[in-house]
Every structure is written in structure tokens, then in C-alpha cells.
Amino acid sequence: MATDLRSARRSQQLGRLFIYGSLVALAAFYLMPLWVMIVTSLKSLDEIYAGSFIGLPKAVTFEAWSKAWGTACIGTKCAGLKPYFINSLLMVIPAVILSSGIGAINGYVLTKWRFKGSNVVFGMLLFGCFLPFQAVLLPMAQVLGKLGLSGSIPGLVLVHTVYGIAFTTLFFRNYFITIPDELTKAAQIDGAGFFRIFFSIMLPAALPIIVVSCIWQFTQIWNDFLFGVSFTAGDSTPVTVALNNIVNVTMGRKQYNVDMAAAMIAAIPTLVVYVVAGRYFVRGLTAGAVKG
């Protein structure tokens, strides 16, 4: 009896060991690329070509970072990623605010002011979440040209707002549907109007989903490449396009440390958001799959 118990305990311990071993091994695999990016970006080019890939740098240097930020060449222009990073900021901030704001009010209408056909409207919006953007690239390029917005940051803001509405509306609709209708009905009886109810009842209650929507939109728009590369060129490209251009420079000795520093610079904003508000990020991620 005692040996039975002991062997049971031992097999349980082995099981725990197996579980933790696998989890840690997986964690190592998922962290490896980030580790490699960071250590490579802190090495000198000579050290890299001497064959140090995964180890810590012998001498830490921030040269690659300052080069990637300020002096690396894209085409004939050698100003680093900085101007494109600013482009991305100028694009992402208005686009996030506009698309989340519009999504909030859409979600409010679709749950608290339902009208005939509002479900059809919602269904049609929903397909926009899963649109392969290739199917709208050509007409969009034509329209942006006609509007005089082609190759500009406002053009990208417009595009990201239009195609962001589907997701933000989904977020807010699924959230507002959980707020009891009695609340808005009571406010209406008290004389509160459409906007009054929205601003003083719905929005204050919607803080978590506002965060989810903003984070989701920020990550999507910051990381966008297809729209950036299709609709902009030269000085007005966002940072993802500029990063790809830096990496694909074919002249001279390949500067892997600068490539990695540039990749880190492009990745930092979304990584910071993820670290600070990961919980909300996951909620946005699973919103398309698990019904709110």
C-alpha cells in the first residue's frame, strides 16, 4: 500500500516535470527570435561576421540603433527610419480615434436603436472584417487618386478608418448588447436624447471595450504593410514599408545589426502596448472567434 502511494506520487511528480519542461522549452522557442534580434542589434558588424549569432555581444554598441534610427539609407535618402516612424504615428493616431469613435456610435445604434434591417446592416458590416484587401486595392487606388489623396498620410488614414469600422463596430456592438435595454429606456423616459444617452450612459460604461478597440486598431494599423506599400511611395511610406526597404538594400556588406535594430524600432510601439495592456489585446484577438 505504501509503495503504491509512493509510486503514484512519483509518477505525478514526473508528470509535473514533463509539463513544466515542455512549457519552458516552448517559451524558449518563442522567445528565441526576440533574443536574437536584440543581441544582434547590439553587436558590431565585425563580431556578427566573425560568427556570433545567439551569444551575448562581447562589446555592447548602440551604433546599429542610431544608424537605423537616423542615418540608414533607403534608396538615395539616408535619414534612417525616423521620418517613417513619424509617418506611422501621424497615420495611426487619427485612424485609431476615428475608427474607434465611429465604431462606438455604430454599436450603440445597432443595439439600442434597432431599426428594420439593422441586422442586415450588421451582417454586411461583419463581412468587412474578413475582406481580403486585394479585392479592393485597385478601385481604392483610383479613388484616392481622384480625391487627390494618393501617396499621402491622410489617404492612408481614410483607408484605415473605412476598413477599421467593421471590426470596431463588432467590438462595441457585442459589448453594448450586454448593457440592459431598461437602462436606456429609463433615461429616455427621463427625457435624455440620443446623444445624451450615448455620452453620459453608454460611453462611461464602455471603458474596457474602448481600450480593446483602440489597442486592436493601433496594432492592426501600425503593422499594416499592404495599404502602405500599395498607396504610398518615397517619403510618405509608413515604417513597415521603410523597414522592408532597409532590409532589402543590396549594396555593400549586409548590415544585419542595422536590420535587426530597425526591426526592433518598428516593433517597439506594438510590443509596448502589448506589455502594458496585454489582457485587452487578447480580448480583441479572440473577439472575432468567441462571441462576446
Binding site: 517559451a27 561576421y49 456610435i105 463581412f127 478608418t161 469600422i165 506594438t270
Partner: protein, 298 residues
């Protein structure tokens, strides 16, 4: 004076629709009208600039007789199959392991999920460096003493597509894990307890009881990952740029280069329509079933 309140009431009744209408218009134009527009271009002889004539299915015939497109479609099948199988397998194992009341679960989950926050361009850049045969992972293993270790897939046309799979799996497993974990958390623990009392081992409990209960999670993961794989564009561009040669060409990269690089707008539009139809065939039934369940009350 008497009529003004009724006017106000009527205006108030229209206000919600009025507020929604710019979005309806934007989505109607930006999604549905533009799709029709692309369809029109795909039936025209457009090359560098759109031309609005009608040539029937000529561009589609041209598309399907372009070897590059055939390669792209084959790659899409290989990529999607492998990407789905590997991502789901690893994601499911991760979720089950994490569900064993482990310590530091939050930290581990964060580590598995952070790649989802990165741009595919960043992922592609990082993995291009890791898979570099002269300085990357191959070199490391060689230096550790395994001299004959070779890992040069990224330079070999017949296996380069697997590199895209590796990077895509790395980026997306956290997503599959998150959905499976949410599914597992929704399962009543007493089921596991009851089965344990019956004498079933944990692996059997998972295989024959828990996994079948995760059906909705499986459906979501399969649909959303297929969607990711059909539209994957940035990753291929950053990692292999469709090469070596056209070995890792995908429909999305084909569409882009036909339209913006090779002045074959008609063929590009035809390929975009093929992509759209593939996505629609997967997504519309899915959305339909999700909405139907929604209406029946979840």
C-alpha cells in the same frame, strides 16, 4: 407651434439611421462597390491603366495559364495545410499544458502570444536572419560541434515554402492557444473528475472527452487561420520575397506584382477575385452559423 414637436419627434426617430448612414455608405462603397469594380476590371483588357471594355473571361484564362499563378495556388495549399496542422497541434498542446494549474501561467501565456503583436514584416526580417545558412542557426549548431548539420531551406526552391510555414506558425500559435484555452476554461471540471474516478488516464480523458468538446473552438481556429493564410502577403514578401525564383509565390504576392509591377491589371484583378471567392466560401457560412447561434441566444 403645435407641429414642431411632431417634426422634432420624427427627426429624432431618424437620427439613429442618420448617424449610422456614413458608415453604411463607407462600407457599401469601400467593400461592396469596390468588389464589383474589381470584378469589372477583371473582365476588361486593362493593363497599366484601367480600361472599361469587355473581354469576357480572357483574363481568367490568361491567369490560369500563367505558370507563376499555378505555383502560387499550389503553394497556398501546401502552406495552408501545414500551417493549420502545425499551429493547431502546438496551440492545443500549449493550451492543455497551461490548463494544468501551472505556476506563472500568465507570464507563459504572454510569451506565447507576443508574436501576434508584431508586424509580419518584423517577423519576416527576424526569421530571414535566423534561417540565414551562413550566419544563422545552421552556423550555431555547427559551432556546437555538429559539423554536418545543414539547414539551408531558405535558399532551396523546393523547400523554401517550409520556411514561410515555420515563421507563420511561430507568429500564430499563441492565437490558437488563446482560443483553445478559452474553450478549455469553459468546460466543467467535474467531467474530468468523474472520468478519473472511472479510472481513465489523463491522456485518454483529453483525447476522447475534452478535445471533442472543443469543436466550436476548432471551427473558429480553422476558419480564422485559413483566412490569415490566404491573405498572408507581408510575411512572404519580407522573408523570401516570393523566391528563390518564384518558389514561394503566393496568390497575394502574385496579385501585387501583376498589378503594381508587371502592368497586368486585368490579370491582377482576376487573381484578386479568385482570392475573394476562396475567402467568401470559407467565411460566409461561418459568419452565417455564428449569427444564427447568436439569435437563438447563446
Amino acid at each position: 407651434m403645435r407641429r414642431s414637436p411632431s417634426f422634432k419627434d420624427r427627426a429624432a426617430a431618424w437620427l439613429p439611421v442618420l448617424v449610422l448612414s456614413p458608415s453604411i455608405l463607407a462600407v457599401f462603397v469601400g467593400v461592396y462597390l469596390f468588389i464589383c469594380w474589381t470584378a469589372v476590371i477583371s473582365f476588361s483588357s486593362s493593363q497599366m491603366l484601367p480600361r472599361y471594355d469587355f473581354v469576357g473571361f480572357a483574363q481568367y484564362v490568361r491567369l490560369w495559364s500563367t505558370p507563376r499563378w499555378i505555383i502560387a495556388v499550389e503553394n497556398l495549399f501546401i502552406f495552408t495545410a501545414l500551417f493549420l496542422i502545425v499551429t493547431i497541434a502546438i496551440g492545443l498542446v500549449m493550451a492543455i499544458l497551461l490548463d494544468q494549474k501551472v505556476r506563472a501561467e500568465g507570464a507563459l501565456r504572454a510569451i506565447y502570444l507576443y508574436p501576434m503583436a508584431l508586424s509580419f514584416i518584423v517577423t519576416g526580417t527576424a526569421w530571414k536572419w535566423i534561417l540565414n545558412p551562413t550566419l544563422g542557426i545552421q552556423k550555431v549548431v555547427n559551432d556546437w560541434g555538429w559539423q554536418s548539420f545543414v539547414f539551408d531551406w531558405i535558399t532551396r526552391p523546393e523547400v523554401a515554402i517550409y520556411c514561410v510555414v515555420i515563421a507563420a506558425v511561430w507568429q500564430s500559435t499563441g492565437f490558437a492557444m488563446a482560443i483553445f484555452l478559452a474553450g478549455l476554461r469553459g468546460i466543467d471540471n467535474s467531467i474530468i473528475k468523474a472520468a478519473q474516478i472511472e479510472g481513465a488516464g489523463l491522456p485518454r480523458i483529453y483525447l476522447s472527452i475534452i478535445v471533442p468538446m472543443l469543436r466550436p473552438a476548432f471551427l473558429s481556429v480553422i476558419v480564422l487561420l485559413s483566412y490569415i493564410s490566404i491573405k498572408s502577403f507581408d510575411l512572404v514578401l519580407a522573408l523570401t520575397n516570393g523566391g528563390p525564383g518564384s518558389a514561394t509565390e503566393m496568390p497575394s504576392t502574385f496579385m501585387f506584382s501583376a498589378t503594381f509591377r508587371r502592368n497586368q491589371m486585368g490579370v491582377g484583378a482576376a487573381s484578386a477575385m479568385m482570392m475573394l471567392m476562396t475567402v467568401a466560401a470559407i467565411i460566409i457560412p461561418y459568419l452565417y452559423s455564428e449569427l444564427k447561434e447568436d439569435r437563438n441566444g447563446h
